[in-house]
């Protein structure tokens, strides 16, 4: 039993890592720009396809492919900010609808470029750290965990210790007051979109060799991310991380000891309970919600 618990812990840690990367990006975009980005799952997909193109097809080193994937999806985020969200800044519903349209465009581009079939990506490594016969941590999964810790730590440092980070937080708290202080709303929006999209992209790129990459892989990711940010508190980065970890552990434990379908139900129940008991989420504040 202890071995199964330990293996479940590793499984949950991996799940928490990529979920938190996606959810934090989504929260950042919502917090700064006030837009619910439905295309966030497709940005995750775009990151995965960057690895398909660069690592699987062009045989670039995996980490180079991941880095380019991050930059590429970050640039996609900039494109979204300029072409979709900025013209609709005073119309949050318009931004949401535009993001749904962009989601379909990205899916169609992936279908046209790569086809509908799942992509084959050679394993980055087949090495496994074996703690015992039944407790094993594949090194490819360890990479995802390490990358999530590094990237989220870097984001925390950026937001708390740099002028750009302060500007971003100020814009998220009160855009008008921030603008009166001379902070460029356009610039903070650009930074938020680049980072938010880039985090989704890097999550997709890192996990690409471990999941089935297809044009529609963003669906389940965005649903999980929405559950997580509602539980964590819409607009709260800390809440998103805490909720990612909680959701990943609960979902993994229920799947392992009971049933995968039940795990989804429990995840939704968790969201429902939080909404009833604390409508603002675990770390959200009333004005953000």
């Amino acid at each position: 039993m202890l071995e199964i618990l330990a293996q479940t812990g590793f499984n949950a840690l991996y799940a928490a890592s990529y979920i938190s990367l996606v959810a934090v990006g989504l929260v950042l975009i919502f917090g700064v720009m006030g837009v619910v980005n439905f295309a966030h799952g497709e940005l995750f997909m775009a990151g995965a396809y960057a690895v398909v193109a660069l690592y699987a097809d062009l045989h670039m080193p995996f980490l180079v492919a991941v880095g380019i994937g991050l930059a590429f999806v970050g640039l996609l985020g900039l494109l979204m900010e300029r072409a979709l969200f900025r013209p609709l800044r005073d119309n949050p519903l318009g931004g949401l609808v535009a993001s749904i349209g962009f989601l379909m465009i990205l899916q169609s581009l992936a279908v046209m470029g790569f086809g509908v079939r799942m992509e084959h990506i050679p394993p980055v490594t087949q090495d496994v750290i074996a703690f015992s016969e039944k407790v094993r941590l594949p090194v490819a999964r360890l990479y995802v965990i390490i990358a999530a810790v590094v990237l989220l730590s870097a984001l925390w440092f950026f937001l708390k210790r740099t002028r750009f980070g302060w500007a971003l937080r100020a814009s998220a708290q009160d855009p008008e007051a921030a603008a009166l202080q001379g902070i460029s709303i356009n610039q903070t929006a650009r930074i938020a979109m680049f980072i938010g999209a880039g985090l989704a992209g890097v999550a997709g790129a890192l996990t690409a060799p471990l999941v089935s990459v297809n044009p529609f892989m963003g669906h389940s990711v965005i649903i999980t991310a929405f559950i997580v940010i509602i539980v964590g508190g819409v607009g709260s980065l800390e809440g998103a991380i805490i909720a990612s970890v909680a959701y990943a552990f609960i979902h993994t434990v229920v799947t392992t000891f009971w049933d995968g379908v039940l795990a989804d139900i429990v995840g939704l129940m968790l969201m429902l309970i939080v909404l009833i008991v604390r409508p603002t989420g675990l770390m959200g504040s009333a004005d953000r919600a």
Partner: protein, 430 residues
């Protein structure tokens, strides 16, 4: 505005003349098509989305089939020969879209027959079938019921053929006595779970745990595999999981140190699975869908025309994309063509009667019976032998063709019991 048109010479006589000419002109293309000899066949399956792997490769196979048939003179109905043309509609495995597609294919495209994957999409199409009398085919006989009189399952008797793999395993590897199973919780996964449970019970293989069902949206299979391996099974059964699940599950089994036997309904793109695991790990992996370059496909019992040539052409056009359904829709067309030529007509009712005449049919894997009254409430499934395939030295090899009816004669009651337990009998499905 109407006054202006009238002044310009638009009177009732002019209207009637132009309308009549327009009507004749509109009718011309259809008349020309009939005279030119083209029969249209509808292909209503997922061409995009997560289930596309069981639609798109089938359409690709049909295009090759159509070219071969047309080059050989087409379909002969009476004294006339007709070319065959496929009209596809992507239903995205969505019942509402499937219904729209069926209506469009019948009303606008004038197809004579519609092939489907079936499953979740059939309930959307069933009212259209009832209303129009159009002949449909499905790859999933679990769609059949006494009400589906114009629906046939002439290629795949999913999931019943899965019993042959378990039966072969029990006979050839008698030391394997314990198993676990996982499946996605959907119209494809559940009847297959019931079938595998019956097959394992019939073979005296003990299930160590309840089948583990997972949401079709699952992307990370590590927890699923941890659960499967917790009971130290000798056999892990992957049910009828989509290839998007089979691959990551197999990879997880490899990474979490499983060294036992794997059995699965499909192993599409198994070369990629070998690349992600190892040749040794995949050795002996049992599934049900052969490569058509297998020498056993040239046996006398096989009715599929030139399987080796078809496989070579398919791989030339779509390298590395051969999968479970690449040949299936084409094999249905073989049966439909034979039925239509026998009937001398492409009319659905006449073709169906000709296909089922004498209760026998030429299935791709051998002569078979129209069957299914007990299980589906209607004998519209063509059932005979089915191949058991194992991966040996990195290549799929047909081990044996085994009779499904023979198994059913011995263990049919067991199958009906498990189907009933999972609510999968025809009178239980909603």
């Amino acid at each position: 505005m109407f006054t202006k048109i009238h002044r310009a010479g638009f009177n009732r006589r002019f209207f009637l003349k132009t309308s009549a000419l327009g009507t004749i002109a509109a009718g011309l293309p259809r008349a020309a098509a009939a005279a030119g000899g083209t029969i249209k066949i509808g292909f209503l399956a997922p061409l995009t989305g997560p289930v596309a792997a069981w639609g798109k490769p089938g359409l690709d196979g049909c295009q090759i089939w159509a070219e071969r048939i047309n080059a050989a003179g087409g379909i002969k109905l009476g004294d006339e020969s007709f070319d065959v043309e496929f009209v596809s509609y992507d239903n995205e495995y969505d019942p509402a879209k499937a219904r729209t597609g069926a209506t469009k294919l019948i009303r606008e495209d004038g197809v004579s027959f519609i092939m489907m994957l079936g499953g979740d999409t059939w309930p959307g199409v069933q009212p259209v079938a009832e209303k129009t009398g159009m002949l449909f085919s499905t790859l999933l006989p679990s769609d059949l019921s006494p009400d589906t009189t114009t629906l046939i399952a002439p290629a795949e008797v999913h999931p019943i053929y899965n019993v042959t793999g378990v039966e072969w395993l029990a006979e050839n590897k008698p030391d394997l006595k314990t198993a676990v199973m996982c499946a996605q919780d959907d119209a494809l996964g559940l009847p297959s779970v019931a079938t595998y449970l019956a097959a394992f019970e019939a073979a005296g293989i003990e299930m160590l745990d309840e089948p583990l069902l997972f949401d079709p949206a699952t992307t990370d299979f590590a927890p699923v595999v941890t659960r499967l391996l917790a009971k130290n099974p000798q056999i892990v059964c992957l049910d009828t999981c989509y290839s998007d699940y089979v691959h990551p599950i197999a990879e997880q089994l490899f990474q979490q140190g499983f060294k036992g036997q794997i059995i699965s309904c499909t192993a599409d793109f198994y070369d990629q699975m070998i690349a992600k695991t190892s040749k040794e790990f995949m050795e002996g992996f049992i599934f049900q869908f052969p490569d058509f370059d297998d020498p056993a496909m040239n046996a006398d019992n096989v009715n599929f025309d030139d399987p080796n040539g078809f496989y070579a052409e398919y791989n030339k056009r779509h390298p590395g994309e051969w999968g479970a359904v690449s040949w299936e829709y084409a094999s249905i067309m073989d049966l439909w063509k034979a039925g239509a030529e026998k009937a001398g007509s492409a009319e659905p009712e006449a073709v169906l009667a000709a296909m089922q005449e004498g209760g026998k049919g030429k299935h791709a894997f051998g002569d078979a019976d129209w069957w299914g009254e007990e299980l589906f409430g209607i004998s519209n499934a063509l059932v005979g032998a089915w191949p058991v395939v194992a991966i040996e030295d990195g290549k799929a090899v047909i081990k044996e063709f085994r009779s499904i009816p023979d198994w059913y004669t011995k263990h049919g009651e067991l199958l009906r019991k498990h189907m009933s337990d999972y609510g999968q009998m025809f009178d239980q499905r909603g």
